[in-house]
Assembly symmetry: C2
Homo-oligomer: 244 residues x 2
């Protein structure tokens, strides 16, 4: 049943986690039902109980399992869609839905940071930042004005690159520079389109705009991007998952 032949560099707990995850998703372990005890499973997989617990802990974090001390470990009744629990970006998300997405770069240059940008990026007012302003489309329809600021000090390479090709994969670019996007904080408001926005997004002045401000952080907590985002209210909604 379970090979788990070693020597491939994949940790045991990862393989076991994967095996358990499959059993849950394909229904071998049914929703709400108790799975075998840790003792039993560790014997089944031929690993120590601590290793097995490592796998189960991960699946609990994913929301697939839950424990009741003194009773057992159970499959959750409701599996949250994986995307919801993750920080994803516009292109990833929309392409996942099978939609054609594209963008047009409106502006791209180095400027001194204004107060709000500097504060979010942990810089001083006036420090150099790169500003990338784009208009984003879903299936030829303009839906979002996107205004990103990234610290010059971290990503000066960007200025020497082909922005058209980079701007669609900023996250990849960050990673190639050694900063993995790990966390973010975003704030959302409902606003109304002013003349500029209405013009760019082909909508009426006063129509609803879903406004978003977001800061992205790398694993070590360095702020790597601050973003203003104006989304057409009639074309865009944002889904997020919450933990307690």
């Amino acid at each position: 049943m379970d090979d788990l032949t070693k020597l491939d560099g994949v940790p045991l707990y990862v393989k076991i986690r994967q095996s358990l995850r499959e059993n849950i998703l394909n229904g071998s372990y049914k929703r709400g039902e108790k799975i075998p005890s840790e003792e039993e499973l560790s014997a089944q997989y031929g690993v120590s109980r601590m290793t097995l617990r490592h796998s189960i802990n991960d699946l609990i974090d994913e929301g697939l399992l839950y424990r009741r001390q003194g009773v057992g470990t159970f499959v959750a009744h409701h599996h949250l869609a994986r995307d919801h629990s993750r920080l994803t970006n516009f292109f990833e998300n929309s392409r996942m839905d099978g939609l054609q997405v594209s963008e047009k770069v409106l502006d791209f240059r180095q400027i001194p940071a204004k107060y709000q940008v500097a504060k979010a990026l942990n810089l001083k007012e006036g420090d150099p930042v790169i500003c990338i302003k784009t208009l984003r489309f879903i299936e030829t329809e303009p839906v979002t004005v996107h205004e990103a600021y990234i610290p010059m000090a971290l990503f000066s390479d960007l200025l020497n690159m082909d922005i058209e090709s980079q701007s669609q994969d900023l996250w990849g670019f960050y990673e190639r520079c050694g900063y993995k996007v790990k966390r973010g904080v975003q704030r959302l408001e409902a606003r109304q389109a002013d003349e500029d926005l209405a013009d760019m997004l082909s909508m009426q002045v006063g129509a609803p705009i879903l406004y978003k401000e977001r800061t992205l952080f790398s694993e070590d907590g360095t702020p790597i991007e601050f973003l203003y985002c104006f989304n057409r209210g009639d074309m865009y909604s944002i889904t997020v998952s919450l933990l307690r």
Copy 2:
């Protein structure tokens, strides 16, 4: 330095986690700097390395620390505000900001579930649900129309209770019924006030509304609440943190 006298029922890893957290927050371990090695800390606290790692793992999940294999463990440069990373509710949040909050119950009764409600709560259309509609105020200003649906089957007790006192602490009520709020999924849109909303929220027809749909889940994945929420765009914003 570190007492950790046992016999109080508090696990060692929790005490150590707390001690480390304090050292981080009060600056004994400075941002970006390396903390002592796991070997060193486990000796310092007089516990095994595995126990110490348990504490550190928790703090990494909180975003206070990060590891670099082969190098060490470091204090994150940017500590996300604790509230942001958590699922919190309206009253908790606003009171934390020192604001006076209150609410008026507009409607409270048992009704058959409509399609969307039934689907979110994992019920069949027409199954009985309890509907609680309230108007919420910050400092005498109406800001939110709040329409919650909860499954009759789980919380029939609610009908026999003083709704005025319960509705302000629904989460506490859920918990007393054995369902701890653990996860949530919410979707946000920008909309415009119709006549009803404009009237209730003392705003003009067409003014922006931050619309929110939310489902809450207990630890075992049972959906326990589905919510429509209409927030005055000029008074309300939503902040969430994201993980990757």
